[in-house]
Structures are given as structure tokens and as C-alpha cells.
């Protein structure tokens, strides 16, 4: 194992840039969504205005566990992203992301509010839907590249998309759930139309909500980074990698806008039956 100051510095710089990138991507998301809905939409930097405003508010909390959980969610996103930029172990990143997801659930469960509690139960079902798929995506990548380390996966001879096309579809499903997009936005969502107020985020406001939002930006960057791994290789160009990120994200927004919110049963069926079958077929395929 080698570790140089240089790689740590690069990772730190990327980590510092990530909230900016994440906020900017969210701004683009809102503009594109508005465009698809024939609206004008907010300025690109609106997410930053929102977060700054939230940070300036006086805290309104039901109990202090909420605060603890909001911070832990942010910490987990930071740590996971840092490991990613250090080109570390994907499976480890997965488990660190789980810390944040569990923190969200715990934060909502500690408040005796039916909206938050229902949101938490649904959030758990969402985790049940995307976690196995994400593990399979990582295992597929590791099987093809020989290792779970991002450094090895980036260094494959030809893009993984050619050998893992079905897992790429699985990854699109994972991202829809993780980014709280329709048809899977059952526990909370970024949209104005809410089914259960705002699920796990119901009793969050002000600075704590801002932390959750920043954490979410970091997760957006992490997920897009993982998507990029489908195209990175010894031969691909930087432009190609950017293109696959942009295309994937556009597909996410498109699906978000053309589909209705579905029930958790439908979600579990889609991800655990369809998604897992795709993943399994693809991994078996690697043996031939």
C-alpha cells in the first residue's frame, strides 16, 4: 500500500469543491425540471441561497437526537466521499453511506410524529430496495476489475459499461431511489408535491435542514462519481466521463418527470426482482 501527501491533498481539495458541485448540480436539476414542466425555474445558484438562508435561522427542534443525527448524516457523506476521492474500497464506502442513511431514520424515529415515523419506515424500505442492488453493482465492478478499490476499477483496460451494461441499469434504479426521484420518492422528496409532508425530514428545519441538504449534495457527487466508474479506463477521455455523468443524470431527471410516485410494494418488486435479476445475469455473464 502506498499513500502520498499529494493524493491526500488532491482528495481534500476535491472534497472542498464537492458541496459547490453538488449545489450547482441541484440548481441545474431544478432548472431542467422546470424546463420539462414548461416553467422558467429558479436561478442556478438558488440552492445556495436556500441553504444560506436556512443556516441563518434560529434552531427549532423537538429533541437533541435530531441534531446529532443531522450532523452524523453530514459526517458520513463527507467520510464516504473522502474515501472515494482517496480511491479507496467501494464496499467500505457503501457501509459508510449506510451510517448516514441510518442516521436519517433514527433522527426521524426519535420524534413522535406520524409523518416522520412513516417516512422513517419508508426510508428503511427504500434502503432495503437499493442496498442489495448497490452491493451487486460494486461486486460486479470488483469481479471485472479484480478489486474493490476505486484505483483498480479506474484502471481497467476497457470501460466497464461494455461488460456491465445490465448493472448500469441497476445503478440507474439505485440512483432514482437514492436521489429521491419519482417513482421512488416515497419517504421524502425534493418536489413541492408531497405525500407525507416531507417524510423523514418533517421535523427538521433551519440549520439542521441545511446540513441534511449539504449532505445530500455530497451524496449526489458520490453517486455520480460511482456512475463515472462505468466509463473510466486506461483509454477513455475525460470528456467521455463527463458525458456519461451528464447523460445519466439527465435520464434520472427525465424519469422523475415522466413517472408517477408508486407504492413501496411496487418499489421492492422492481428493485429486488427486476434489478437483482439484471444484476445476477450480468455477474454470471462475467464468468464466460
Amino acid at each position: 500500500m502506498e499513500l502520498s501527501i499529494f493524493t491526500i491533498l488532491i482528495a481534500l481539495v476535491l472534497l472542498l469543491l464537492s458541496p459547490l458541485a453538488g449545489g450547482f448540480i441541484t440548481g441545474v436539476d431544478r432548472r431542467l425540471t422546470a424546463w420539462l414542466q414548461s416553467r422558467y425555474g429558479p436561478p442556478l445558484v438558488q440552492p445556495f441561497y436556500d441553504v444560506l438562508k436556512l443556516l441563518g435561522k434560529a434552531p427549532m427542534i423537538v429533541n437533541s437526537w435530531q441534531v446529532l443525527c443531522a450532523y452524523i448524516y453530514l459526517v458520513s457523506a463527507v467520510v464516504a466521499l473522502f474515501i472515494f476521492f482517496m480511491q479507496g474500497d467501494l464496499l467500505l464506502i457503501f457501509f459508510v453511506v449506510t451510517v448516514g442513511a441510518v442516521a436519517q431514520v433514527v433522527g426521524a424515529m426519535t420524534v413522535n410524529s406520524p409523518f416522520g415515523q412513516t417516512g422513517a419506515q419508508r426510508e428503511l424500505l427504500q434502503m432495503l430496495a437499493y442496498e442489495p442492488l448497490l452491493v451487486m453493482v460494486f461486486v460486479g465492478m470488483a469481479k471485472a476489475a479484480g478489486s474493490f478499490n476505486v484505483s483498480d476499477i479506474m484502471n481497467v483496460e476497457e470501460p466497464l459499461l461494455f461488460s456491465l451494461p445490465l448493472l448500469f441499469i441497476a445503478m440507474v434504479i439505485v440512483m432514482l431511489i437514492k436521489l429521491r426521484k419519482s417513482p421512488f420518492d416515497i419517504s421524502s422528496s425534493g418536489h413541492a408535491h408531497q405525500e407525507i409532508v416531507s417524510g423523514v425530514h418533517t421535523d427538521y428545519s433551519g440549520p439542521q435542514l441545511a446540513l441534511l441538504e449539504i449532505g445530500h449534495w455530497l451524496e449526489v457527487v458520490l453517486l455520480l462519481g460511482i456512475t463515472a466508474l462505468f466509463w473510466t479506463s486506461q483509454t477513455t477521455t475525460f470528456i467521455g466521463v463527463i458525458l456519461i455523468i451528464v447523460e445519466t443524470y439527465f435520464v434520472e431527471i427525465l424519469i422523475d418527470n415522466i413517472s408517477a410516485r408508486m407504492t413501496w410494494k411496487w418499489m421492492l418488486r422492481t428493485s429486488l426482482c427486476t434489478g437483482m435479476v439484471l444484476a445476477l445475469v450480468n455477474i454470471f455473464w462475467l464468468y464466460y
Partner: protein, 652 residues
């Protein structure tokens, strides 16, 4: 010196058990239990420091040990036979008679042309795997016994017993510890079998301790299911005897002779029953009727760990076989199914029980994957699971004595009633499922090591991935419910516990955190040497000391940086939460004007203009994850897998 230490680990607890039975005074019992605990802890640490060894141990205090064990073994089986007759349970009677006949054959008393059995020169053999087990049994087991002192006093007050049954209780508890240590240190298979059946008897007595109908019924089920495993053990020994082979654990795993495969498979089958793998899960779920220290002991450091220990011990003997592959699938299947069953449960002890079986399944899956990394994963899980699960069971016991329910729905907002226990339980839960704790490290190692398997890899990993997501589901909601609070101020009420209970909970919590932090050191000192016999040395983990980083060519897990990063983040979060606790709290959003009812509970003004407090419940999804839905199919699949294992070996 070594003789003395081994004596202290095996015979001393048994002697202390007898003394606890004879002297009924409370003070003497306390002194005996605490004294035995301290001696066991010191002896096990000294043994671990000394490293692997072999001992002839042919005489003890001038008595021939082989004859002594033989005598005790027949006495033990006679006791079980009498129990079977008393219960008029013909399964137990038949199994006991068959075991006696089989053992008579192995000992050379009956059968055509059978002489004395070929016994190994060294009766005792300890490698690092045994030493890890001795440490777990002696440290965690002793702590549970000490907790039992405080727990049983309250327990018997609740039951209004005229005559204390504690002497009997602690007799079996201490006997259990001695038997477990004996089992993991035996090289002579006849000795191992004696201790094996002794743990079966102890668990029967302890599960039935409260004497209710349900307790008796469940104890009986535990007895016959474990005797089924004991029978397989006897069959294995009979096959070895017939072939004129040495009745030695060491020979079994080091010779590489395919003749030994069938006995090994039979011994593993015995391990499945003891580790309550599907389809034998029902005895362990039934065992929760016993007083909590018993459940904690059965689930964490003894009994079920004996089964996985045996499978791991024999793992070098079946590497690269068909059996090994099916074993991995079988273990992963148990992991998946019991994790799913746990989701459907609202009974806290049952959730813990299914989670135990799931983790044992994970360990068995690792034994089946059977590379150096996988065996290391299995041993890490044994250690961390013992600490965390003991902690969780003892927490549920303490909670149950206070709120008189073990249903997790009744533990909602427990933080307001017993803040310390609620927080400790939440820590225990987190240590079972999230980084940077050791259990997660073990799970990470297990999944990564499965990558290098053959075509069975996608099947095994699918089941591990699904099972792992299910565990997050049932742990996450439980942790959240426990911590429920209605205002930001920290709750300052006493948990009202006896010292022995709060002391043990505290020690176990510290152990869970500290052991996870020191996992790289633990790995280098104990786990890595224990995996040397496993296949594929290239897969084994190396440690990069500076970062405490586990790495091999499939991945890396940097323990220290991760621990420090998460600990710093946690400290930051805690600081923010402390600061926020000074804020005046608000009421949760309830879609209406907030108000308080006459008890001061938050609610909203409902349609009839009266204050309505919201009610909440969990998704147990019992139409998907209910026991009635899953158990039948799961048992059928598991039996098919076991048939595949046996069939595959016989066919060759």
C-alpha cells in the same frame, strides 16, 4: 504452568459449580461466581499470551483422564436417558440409547473385532482458534454470570419463590463455562464429545429453569434437536473407529485423506444443530423463555458458538470440496432467511435470536468460502458478535425487568424512562451493524472474500447483500425507537439498576468499542495465526500498522483513520446536540394546532376539539416476513441443501 492454566479453564469452573450447588448462602455464591470469573479471565488471558500448545493431559490428580471422561460420558448419557424416560419423550429415549450403543462401540466394548480405540497421544490441543474461543467464553461468559447475580435476585422476587433456585441456576451456568472451555481445547474426539453433550444437558436444564409449561416444552425441543447433532457426532466417531483411524481432531484436519470427509461432514451437521441453523432454528428461538442471562450465555459466548467453532475447526479438512461450496450457500441462506424473519418480529428477544442465527449463518458461509480471508472474517465475527450480542441481551433483560415487556413497541421513547440503558442498547445495536465497529469489519471481509469464489459467488453474495440490507431494516428502527424524546433537554433520571447489572453493561459497552478500535492488533495477535491452515494464503489480510489498515489485493479497510474520522465527526455532532439541548423545544408537526393533553403529552386539536395524541406503529410486514410465511419454505430449502451436502460426499 500450562497444565495449571488448562485446569483453571476447564475443571475449576466445574468445581466452583459443584460448590455453588452445595453452599446455598447468597454471599458464598456471590464470591464463587465473581471469583471464578476473575480466575477464568486471568487464566484465559495467560493462555492466550502463551500461544498454541499441545498437552498429553493423560492424568489429572493421579486419575487416568481417559477412563474418567469415559465414565462421566456414560453417566451423562444415562442422565439424559432418564430425563427422556421421565418426559416420556421417545425421540430423546431412542437417541440416548443409540448414543450409548454407539459410544460403547467406539470405546471398543461391543462390535465385531473391535479393540480399544486409537486415541491420540495429546488429549489437549490449542491453536489460536481455540484460544480466541477460550477468551470469548471466559471473558464474556464470566461477565454474564456476574450480571446474573443481580438479575436473578430481582427475577426470583418477581416469581415469589419460597426456596431460591439460584444454586441450581449458577451450578449449570458455571458448568457450562467449564464444558465450553473443555470442548474447544480437546483434541481427543471422545473428550470433545463428552463436553459437547454436557453443553446440551446444561442448555436443557437452563432453558427449562423457570419450570413453566412453555419452558419445559422448549427445553425438550432443544434437547432432542441437539441430541440429533450428538448422534451425528457419534456416527462420525464410529466411522473413524471402523476405519481404524485416530480419534484426533488434529489428524482429521491435517491428513487431507478423503476417507475423513464423511466423518467431517457428520461433525459439521452436529455443528448445524448446535448453532441452530435452519431447519433447527426453532430450539434457539424457544430458548428465550429462559431467564435473560441464559439467553445471553447461549447466544453470545457458549452453545451456539460451539457449533460454528467445530465447523471452523474442521474447515481445513474440506477445503476445495463440493461440500465446502454447498456449505457456503447453506450458511448464506440461513443468513438471509433469518434476517428476513427478524424483520417480521416485534418481540425484542426474538429479533436478537434471529439475528444470532443469521450471524452464525454468516460464519458458516465464511467457513464454506474457506479462504484465509474468509476464515479470518469468521473469527472476527465470532469475537465481536459475542460482545455485542451479550450486551444486547443483557440490555433487553434489564429493560424487561423495568417495563415488564420485551416487545419493541413498548420500548418506544425508552430514553425518557431509563436513559442510560436506552443509550447503551442503541450503542449495542450500532455496534452490530455500522462502521467503524468490528462486526461490520467482519461482514466486509466476508463479502470481499466471497468475490474469489467459483461460480457460486453470485448466489452467495446475492444472499449476503439481501440479508445485510434486512438487518439494517430491523436494527435501524429499533435504535430510533429507543431514543425517542419529547424535548431537547437531556433526561436526568436514574435507571434504578443493581450495581452488578449496570457494571456489566458498562464493561461490555467499553469492550465493544475498544475491541473494535483494537481490531488490527487483535487480528495480528490472534486471528491471523489461526487462519494459517486455510487455503489460498494470497487472500489473507495484511495489516498496514500505521493506519491499522486491513488490505489484500481485493480491497482495503483503514480502521484507525475511519475510527478517528467518525469519532471526530461524532464528537462534533455531540457538541452541537449539547448546544442545541439548551434551546426551548417545539412540538412535532401533527397537521393541526399543537396542544398537550392532561398528561402533558403532545398532541393536536382534533375534529371534536379535543386533544388527540398521535399513535405510531412499525411496519412489520408480517404478510411477507412473518414466521408462518417463511419458515416452511426455508426449512424445505435448508433440508435440500443438507441433503445435497451429504449426497455429494457419499457419491464421491
Amino acid at each position: 504452568m500450562l497444565n495449571g492454566l488448562v485446569f483453571a479453564c476447564i475443571v475449576l469452573p466445574i468445581l466452583a459449580a459443584l460448590l455453588a450447588l452445595i453452599f446455598r448462602a447468597c454471599a458464598i455464591r456471590k464470591a464463587l461466581v465473581i471469583g471464578t470469573g476473575v480466575v477464568l479471565a486471568l487464566a484465559s488471558l495467560a493462555l492466550a499470551k502463551a500461544g498454541s500448545f499441545r498437552l498429553a493431559a493423560d492424568t489429572m490428580l493421579g486419575i487416568n483422564v481417559n477412563s474418567l471422561v469415559m465414565l462421566l460420558d456414560f453417566a451423562l448419557m444415562a442422565v439424559i436417558l432418564i430425563i427422556g424416560l421421565r418426559l416420556t419423550n421417545w425421540i430423546i429415549v431412542c437417541l440416548a440409547i443409540a448414543q450409548i450403543a454407539g459410544t460403547l462401540y467406539v470405546e471398543g466394548f461391543i462390535g465385531v473385532g473391535s479393540g480399544a480405540p486409537f486415541l491420540p497421544e495429546m488429549g489437549i490441543f490449542a491453536d489460536n482458534l481455540s484460544l480466541v474461543m477460550v477468551l470469548v467464553i471466559s471473558l464474556v461468559g464470566s461477565l454474564i454470570c456476574i450480571y446474573g447475580l443481580g438479575y436473578m435476585r430481582v427475577h426470583e422476587e418477581h416469581l415469589h419463590l419460597e426456596k431460591s433456585r439460584q444454586p441450581r441456576f449458577f451450578f449449570y451456568m458455571l458448568l457450562f463455562l467449564g464444558a465450553m472451555n473443555g470442548l474447544v481445547l480437546s483434541n481427543n474426539l471422545l473428550w470433545a464429545f463428552f463436553f459437547w453433550e454436557l453443553t446440551t444437558l446444561c442448555s436443557f436444564m437452563l432453558i427449562g429453569h423457570d419450570g413453566t409449561d412453555e419452558a419445559r416444552r422448549n427445553a425438550t425441543r432443544a434437547l432432542w434437536m441437539n441430541m440429533l447433532g450428538g448422534m451425528a457426532f457419534v456416527f462420525g466417531m464410529m466411522m473413524l473407529k471402523k476405519a481404524g483411524a485416530e480419534l484426533s481432531m488434529l489428524t482429521l484436519i491435517s491428513s487431507g485423506n478423503s476417507l475423513y470427509l464423511m466423518p467431517i461432514v457428520l461433525f459439521c451437521f452436529a455443528g448445524f444443530t448446535k448453532s441452530a441453523q435452519v431447519p433447527f432454528q426453532s430450539w434457539l428461538c424457544g430458548a428465550m423463555v429462559a431467564p435473560t442471562p441464559v439467553s445471553a450465555l447461549l447466544h453470545s459466548s457458549t452453545m451456539v458458538k460451539a457449533g460454528v467453532f467445530l465447523v471452523l475447526r474442521l474447515a481445513p479438512g474440506f477445503e476445495g470440496t463440493w461440500f465446502s461450496v454447498v456449505l457456503a450457500i447453506f450458511g448464506a441462506f440461513t443468513f438471509l432467511v433469518t434476517s428476513a424473519l427478524a424483520v417480521g418480529q416485534s418481540n425484542g428477544k426474538k429479533i436478537l435470536a434471529y439475528s444470532t442465527i443469521a450471524n452464525l449463518g454468516l460464519i458458516i458461509a465464511c467457513a464454506g468460502i474457506n479462504t484465509q480471508a474468509a476464515i479470518a472474517a469468521a473469527i472476527m465475527i465470532i469475537v465481536f458478535h459475542a460482545v455485542s450480542k451479550a450486551l444486547l441481551f443483557l440490555c433487553v433483560g434489564a429493560i424487561e425487568q423495568r417495563i415488564e415487556s420485551r416487545n419493541i413497541d413498548d420500548m418506544r421513547s425508552l430514553y425518557q424512562l431509563m436513559p442510560r440503558t436506552a443509550v447503551i442498547t442503541a450503542i449495542g445495536i450500532v455496534s452490530m451493524m455500522l462502521p467503524p465497529f468490528g462486526m461490520l469489519l467482519g461482514k466486509w471481509m466476508a463479502i470481499e472474500s466471497a468475490l474469489n469464489m467459483n461460480f457460486a459467488m453470485p448466489i452467495v453474495i446475492t444472499m449476503l447483500a439481501l440479508g445485510s440490507a434486512l438487518t439494517v431494516l430491523f436494527w435501524g428502527r429499533w435504535a430510533g425507537m429507543l431514543l425517542g424524546a419529547a424535548n431537547p433537554k437531556p433526561v436526568r433520571v436514574s435507571d434504578n439498576q443493581s450495581f452488578s447489572i449496570s457494571f456489566v453493561l458498562m464493561v461490555l459497552t467499553i469492550m465493544a468499542v475498544l475491541a473494535s478500535l483494537l481490531s488490527p492488533l487483535l487480528y495480528v495477535a490472534l486471528v491471523q495465526p489461526a487462519t494459517l491452515a486455510a487455503a489460498d494464503p494470497a487472500s489473507g489480510y495484511s495489516i498496514w500498522g500505521a493506519l491499522g489498515s486491513f488490505y489484500n489485493n481485493t480491497g482495503a479497510f483503514a480502521v484507525y483513520p475511519l475510527f478517528i474520522a467518525i469519532a471526530l465527526g461524532f464528537a462534533w455532532a455531540l457538541h452541537a446536540a449539547r448546544k442545541a439541548s439548551k434551546v426551548e423545544g417545539t412540538d412535532p408537526f401533527l397537521s393541526g394546532a399543537n396542544a398537550r393533553n392532561e398528561n402533558g403529552e403532545p398532541g393536536f386539536i382534533g375534529p371534536m376539539r379535543e386533544v388527540t395524541a398521535p399513535t405510531m406503529g412499525n411496519y412489520y410486514l408480517s404478510n411477507i416476513f412473518g414466521e408462518g410465511k417463511l419458515t416452511g419454505t426455508a426449512n424445505a430449502v435448508a433440508i435440500t441443501l443438507i441433503a445435497l451436502m451429504l449426497g455429494g460426499v457419499m457419491w464421491n
